[in-house]
């Protein structure tokens, strides 16, 4: 897969931004992880030591 070449800010329409805010509000009140989030969280933990070592310049 690939992504677009952009480094600047992301500008959304007011409607899309409202959709984003709604999602954030819902997630703020949610105290559990869905299946995708659980998988990603577990997957990310495998890189924790690696990420720390990069930060330490190793």
């Amino acid at each position: 897969m690939k992504t677009k070449s952009q480094l600047g800010s992301v500008t959304l329409s007011r409607k899309a931004f409202a959709k984003l805010e709604k999602m954030l509000k819902e997630n703020d009140s949610r105290n559990y992880l869905n299946k995708q989030e659980k998988e990603l969280l577990e997957g990310s933990k495998k890189f924790d030591k690696y990420v720390a070592s990069i930060a330490n310049g190793k």
């Binding site: 897969m1 992504t3 677009k4 800010s9 992301v10 997630n27 990603l40 990310s44 924790d48 930060a55």
Partner: protein, 165 residues
């Protein structure tokens, strides 16, 4: 990707040689050219951080990350500035070798980014990942990973529930 495989993310440096034996489609040339010609400059200027995705057989992809702001269009009233903005980490460029696609490397890249955000949260909070998918295939990939489509192939992933854990 099989867990037995070890994928490393090597930060770009002066000796990084992009594109040697890297298989890509013509339509991906622009992305590869970014890594060949601009990535190191962007990194030196602290605009983005670029990584080679390396496994035992060699380089399987490239990843560029940067910080950005997601904002709402037409903020004419200065009072609104700041109220309609959200900081985010942008997956600016991600390309996987043509012969290595569908093997989980892209998902590993997202895992890697999430690990960075989880580490960052103690110093700089940032709950959103944002990506502009270039085509339908990329869009499907990010949606399967849990990103939500906002508009025009701009997808967002909210890490807040994860950051509470």
């Amino acid at each position: 990707m099989e867990n037995k495989k070890i994928l490393g993310f090597l930060p770009f440096n002066d000796e990084t040689a992009v594109g040697v034996d890297f298989k890509y489609k013509q339509e991906d040339e622009e992305i590869l050219n970014f890594f060949k010609n601009k990535a190191l400059k962007c990194q030196r200027e602290h605009v983005s951080r670029c990584f080679e995705l390396k496994e035992s057989e060699g380089i399987v992809g490239y990843l560029a990350l940067s910080l950005c702001s997601i904002n709402a269009r037409k903020l004419k009233n200065p009072k609104n500035i700041g109220l309609f903005e959200r900081p985010a980490i942008r997956i600016g460029q991600l390309i996987i070798d043509e012969t290595k696609r569908g093997q989980g490397y892209g998902k590993c890249a997202i895992n890697f980014v999430i690990s960075i955000v989880r580490m960052m949260k103690w110093y700089l909070p940032c709950r959103l990942l944002v990506v502009d998918a270039l085509n339908e295939k990329a869009q499907t990939f990010y949606e399967k990973a849990g990103f939500q489509m906002m508009e025009d192939r701009t997808l967002v992933f909210d890490l807040a529930p994860m950051l509470k854990q």
